[in-house]
Symmetry: C2
Subunit: 446 residues, 2 copies
């Protein structure tokens, strides 16, 4: 992965303030940095990308509904007017808690406070072949890759004579019945129902399958019975084949074999079945829970380290209500960051820290173009109004007026035209060997 330079990261602004280093600019890391804007800390934010990614809408990038730029936010721009926040694009490799030092591919950094907000990556549950052949969707690049793969599969399919030989290029199998899988399946089904037949009049789409596979007994396992049943109903109406209590045994790039022995032919296996927290070196094994999350106390501080905190998907706070940890969703990350920001300021003022208390604000998932399911703590509803609610909530959560405006226009346009217009197979420019030494090439090819 990252080579570790044995020199300090240079050109950081001089400051007498305590140095707070945040690793990762996802929901948790970005929220914390923003809440500490112009506060008495020198905040240094590291991420391997120079932008924040809005994960809840990846599926719309994958299905040609939104541009990557619509849901990606340049981090330097976010902190233009906050002198105490510095961003660096770097990959973190290892922590040395005794020396209070983190090592990255751009050099090392010494800290007074360290916050790990590294998020999670796709979990293939140990299957190397699935990891090798399936398409994950945990970054905007991976979402864009899915879009390109699907379009190129169709451009190939039209040039294949026998329908039998085309099938695996046209079928789509999505594994994982959580919100991501449900939203992907719905959007893919609508592409098949409304868009592809117009794009590829030469092809017949009656036998094109969109299959959604869930290992558990129901879709949207964490949501209410009503939500689960409506989501299933909506997907079925869109022509998605939903298979619950079904496990994928293996995938060779062409054929998915299920544990029941059944097989599904597809070139496109979208894997949204699970996540595992991103790790860096420097933690002892007993600091991790079995699921790879780092054990923290009610102040998000790592048990056994001082002034090292973990937020979001990678943290595990044992609580009676959540014996196996809080849900690994944006809400948890945002609320933990909010709480930590306040506690850090309380430390400064010599006030006692307040423990983190998770507040369930509810959850929602959208199915296709005008239906959704919404669970609020004391109120559940589904259908068109739920979809409008989903739109509104996500629009509000999007950073920046421009992105809000452009996404709103895109959604209105796609809704009215029934035709997401981003079916572009834009191929990355050929990367020359001579250029592979550059970080950007390195990261795209190593």
């Amino acid at each position: 992965m990252s080579e570790i330079h044995q020199k300090p990261i240079p050109n950081l602004p001089k400051s007498d303030l305590p140095k707070l280093v945040i690793l990762g600019a996802g929901f948790a890391g970005l929220k914390l940095a923003r809440n500490l804007k112009n506060q008495p800390f020198q905040v240094i934010l590291l991420d391997k990308n120079n932008f924040h990614q809005f994960q809840p809408l990846f599926y719309q990038v994958a299905t040609a509904g939104l541009e990557p730029s619509a849901i990606s936010f340049p981090l330097r721009k976010i902190f233009h007017n906050s002198k105490n926040v510095t961003f660096r694009m770097a990959e973190v490799a290892r922590l040395d808690a005794d020396r209070k030092r983190v090592f990255t591919d751009m050099g090392f950094l010494d800290y007074d406070y360290l916050v790990l907000a590294l998020g999670a990556d796709t979990n293939y549950f140990g299957s190397e072949t699935i990891e090798h052949f399936a398409s994950p969707m945990k970054t905007v690049s991976e979402a864009l890759y899915i879009r390109n793969k699907i379009i190129s599969n169709y451009e190939r399919a039209v040039n294949i004579e026998r329908m039998e030989d085309r099938k695996s290029l046209m079928n789509m199998v999505i594994v994982g019945g959580g919100p991501t899988g449900v939203e992907l399946a719905g959007a893919m089904a609508e592409l098949r129902n409304n868009v592809f037949p117009k794009d590829y009049p030469e092809l017949s789409f009656k036998n094109m399958k969109v299959v959604l596979i869930e290992a558990g007994p129901a879709l949207l396992g964490t949501m209410s019975k009503e939500a689960q049943e409506h989501a299933l109903d909506y997907l079925t109406k869109l022509g998605v084949e939903v298979m619950v209590e079904t496990k994928v045994k293996d995938y060779n790039g062409k054929v998915v074999s299920l544990e029941g022995g059944e097989i599904l032919e597809t070139d496109t296996l979208l894997w949204a079945a699970g996540i595992k927290p991103n790790k860096i070196g420097g933690f002892s094994d007993e600091m991790f829970a079995p699921n790879g999350r780092i054990l923290v106390d009610e102040f998000s501080e790592v048990t056994g380290m001082s002034n090292v905190f973990v937020l979001g998907d990678g943290s595990l706070l044992k609580e009676d209500r959540f014996p196996r940890g809080h849900p690994q969703v944006a809400q948890t990350a945002l609320q933990q960051a909010e709480n930590l920001a306040k506690n850090l300021l309380r430390d400064k003022k010599g006030q006692p820290r307040k423990p983190f208390r998770y507040k369930d604000l509810g959850s929602m998932a959208t199915v296709g173009r005008k239906l959704a399911v919404v669970d609020l703590p004391f109120f559940k509803f589904q259908g068109f109004f739920a979809w409008l609610t989903w739109l509104l909530v996500h629009l509000m959560a999007i950073l920046g007026v421009k992105n809000k405006l452009f996404i709103f226009l895109n959604w209105s346009w796609n809704y009215l035209s029934f035709d997401p217009s981003l079916r572009l197979l834009i191929k990355p420019r050929y990367v020359r060997a001579s250029e592979r030494k550059e970080p950007i090439e390195q990261k795209t090819t190593d």
Copy 2:
């Protein structure tokens, strides 16, 4: 390049109409296909991309002002409602004029009429090292690559301690004083003047150079003296170092050596110095002019072949006014396509063809955020009003209401905010060896 399948391209709609095959969906090819919508021809349009690219705005993609999708148009969408037009994504390799057959990487095609509209690629005038290390901008992918390269260079620069060692990452050298070079230089200078200092407060931009090199005696060689002088004046005011009558001898990826012996340090050499027509096999040498353009008659028909036509950059019609051929610009391509479409229909009706007559509609170039130079046949003007004219003309030329709307909003936004917001270093997902067999991977890596 492309493997040539010895089988016909399958799944084409049956038709008794004469088969017109168009190679290339640039300005000429797309215009011809659109003018023959629902006319008595079976039109088969081939392009190696599944979208049309609006070249005049590549420089805005390269300088983070516009998204690739804003200037790329899915070809299948354009022809949703024209039953007689079929699109295929394919790379053309060779023509067999005697058998009236073209060979592509997706199979071969037989034609009654063949139209080459293959456009042109970057011309390095024989320098292999420049071709190897310089960045061209003849596709939207190359434009995006330039954006990523520049941003990654800056992310690297902030992590380099000594200013001396940063220089070549920060400097930009643009070769070619035509509209593309002028527009690139202006936009780059504005990034340096207005955007980068806010993004990279750690760096000093006084010694960051933006250099524009032109071999001829003046910028915008084909335009009026007024236009040339104003463009030079505008660029100089933006802080661009303009060097005319200067030739680049060589470039090693770090240092540009000029023929005068002078050198310029830069990691970023943008090459907009010349073009050469794209070629396919099957033409005899005497059919080409020295500059690689194919000789055609006043009906754009290749001299020595029947029913084979060439449009746009690749065609050369000798005319008293244009002894060395018409200007290789969008206007020529569009007017030739217009004329050919009419002549093909005249053929059908047994009417005589009308010869092509080039009508100069003028030319324009924009310099930075609110200045431009415009030459109309009987009227020349420059400055802010010229810039508004430039905006309007290009907005009108853009396909599709949605793209018009989004580009207009983007431009208004960037103009008011002084801050193009697309500074995202989105890296293509790692392409696995196992996937390289797929066309998309093949094209990105062959």
